[in-house]
């Protein structure tokens, strides 16, 4: 069983990396990856919010929406729950844990409309309905894995970008285009992880 959860975690981090192979959360990936400090802060906040919103939306879906036949309301309910949750966490952190707030707080409002967070919640619900063994704990592992994968991609990419700072880049490619092409090369390196999880645990 441990093997099962570990394989979910590794798949989410490496083979199905949220940013580099599923294209979720590209905005923060391109927007705040210039400095290592902001990249780390943002990723930690994403891991935190992903885990929390999965912990909250899974029971809502399982015990409220599905028994009442309201599964079609998933999108609208989940986005509202995530938005309310993020707001609540921000307020609570600000009041009671100021040190954590100063580290993560500034990233929290950004994360409400981050497609990686809504994406992981929706993907968990989909997997839960198609796979009988994909229950609460598996969802949690998938979310944390997704967040860690996001962090891995962000930190790697922050390193790549810092190398690019001093390069002489053709005029039209400066800025965003060359960033995207660099992201493409980083993404090629993640293609190499294909099949690795099946081979370790298979």
């Amino acid at each position: 069983m441990t093997k099962y959860y570990f394989s979910i975690l590794l798949t989410a981090v490496l083979t199905n990396n949220f940013v580099l192979s599923k294209f979720l959360g590209i905005c923060p990936f391109l927007g705040v990856s210039k400095k290592l400090k902001t990249a780390t802060g943002m990723s930690l906040a994403v891991i935190f919010v992903m885990a929390m919103s999965t912990a909250v939306t899974y029971p809502i879906n399982k015990y409220l929406l599905e028994p009442k036949g309201l599964a079609y309301l998933q999108t609208i309910v989940f986005i509202l729950v995530i938005a309310a949750l993020v707001q609540l966490v921000e307020t609570v952190l600000k009041k009671y844990v100021p040190s954590l707030y100063s580290a993560l707080g500034i990233y929290l409002p950004l994360i409400t409309t981050n497609c990686a967070v809504l994406g992981v919640v929706l993907l968990n619900v989909q997997s839960a309905s198609s796979e009988a063994s994909f229950r609460f704990l598996a969802s949690m592992f998938n979310s944390v894995g997704g967040g860690v994968g996001f962090m891995l991609a962000m930190i790697m990419f922050a390193g790549v970008r810092s190398r690019m700072e001093s390069c002489d880049i053709p005029k039209s490619l400066r800025g965003l285009p060359i960033t995207l092409i660099a992201a493409s090369i980083v993404s090629v390196s993640f293609l190499g992880f294909g099949g690795i999880v099946e081979n370790i645990f298979g």
Binding site: I26, Y72, I76, L118, L122, S172, T179, S187, F190
Partner: protein, 270 residues
């Protein structure tokens, strides 16, 4: 007459001058994810356009009713309702498209183009202008998606409009299933499709190239190249302290001269 002309301007600016994907750099996630085939691109573009037009109209109608403090949650509810409607329609009528777009269909909710237009335009302008703006932005999004998807599908899969029957079956046409190109080439020209173009790296690469082309054309017209304004045009920018501290990218590029220098010195002091 003047009214008509300005409506047309609202529509046409979204196509090229303010193309949401290539000039405003909004909605990058769906652009990269669904541009693997032309049919997916058209399906995604149309779904997002329908949501965009409907939510722009609804938000513009409600703009005097919604208190400005809770406008973002209110916008999200309006958008999420339309996304749910579109999602159910697609599931019912074009199930193949629903499974191809997967999670990106419900994720139209957090597509920055839609929330961004609600915040930047529909919340401040008349219903007709908002509808025209939504239509133009939707068309611009679809056009950019289609540009990327054409190249990616052609190089990566060797086809054009592959799987078109899933969309066309709506109109009762099932005979056209796309154009095979690479497999029909004469023997001495036989080449394999370059698979990597429909994989993730190809998406980033094509987007970069397309963005560079758009920048080149903009340069020729004396306009600045596209920078990541994603953060600035993001509806959360009002409450985002990354922007205030100038830590997010693409900020200095838009602010000119003195402000940009101030940013740099501010960054150095940290």
């Amino acid at each position: 007459m003047a009214e008509k002309k300005s409506l047309f301007n609202e529509f046409s600016k979204g196509l090229i001058a303010e193309n949401p994907v290539l000039r405003l750099v909004l909605g990058t996630c769906p652009t990269l994810a669904v541009s693997t085939s032309m049919v997916n691109a058209i399906g995604m573009g149309l779904s997002a356009s329908i949501v965009l037009v409907c939510s722009n109209i609804a938000i513009s109608m409600l703009r005097r009713v919604i208190p400005s403090k809770v406008r973002i949650p209110a916008y999200i509810v309006v958008i999420a309702s339309f996304v749910t409607i579109v999602q159910m329609l697609v599931k019912a009528f074009v199930p193949a498209l629903d499974s191809a777009l997967g999670v990106f269909l419900p994720l139209i909710v957090v597509n920055c183009i839609i929330l961004g237009r609600a915040e930047a335009f529909a919340g401040k302008n008349s219903v007709a202008a908002s509808a025209a703006d939504g239509l133009g932005m939707g068309a611009g999004f679809t056009a950019a998606l289609l540009c990327m998807a054409t190249v990616r599908e052609f190089l990566g899969n060797g086809t054009l409009f592959s799987g078109a029957d899933s969309l066309l079956s709506l109109f009762g046409i099932t005979s056209f299933t796309g154009i095979e190109i690479f497999s029909r080439l004469p023997e001495f020209l036989k080449i394999e499709p370059i698979l990597i173009f429909i994989l993730a790296p190809g998406g980033f690469f094509m987007f970069g190239i397309l963005m560079a082309l758009a920048n080149k054309i903009a340069e020729g017209k004396g306009k600045p190249g596209a920078e990541l304004h994603g953060c600035e045009s993001c509806p959360m920018s009002g409450s985002c302290s990354l922007i205030k501290d100038g830590e997010a990218d693409g900020i200095g590029a838009r602010r000119s001269g003195a402000a940009a220098t101030a940013d740099m010195t501010g960054g150095g002091a940290q």
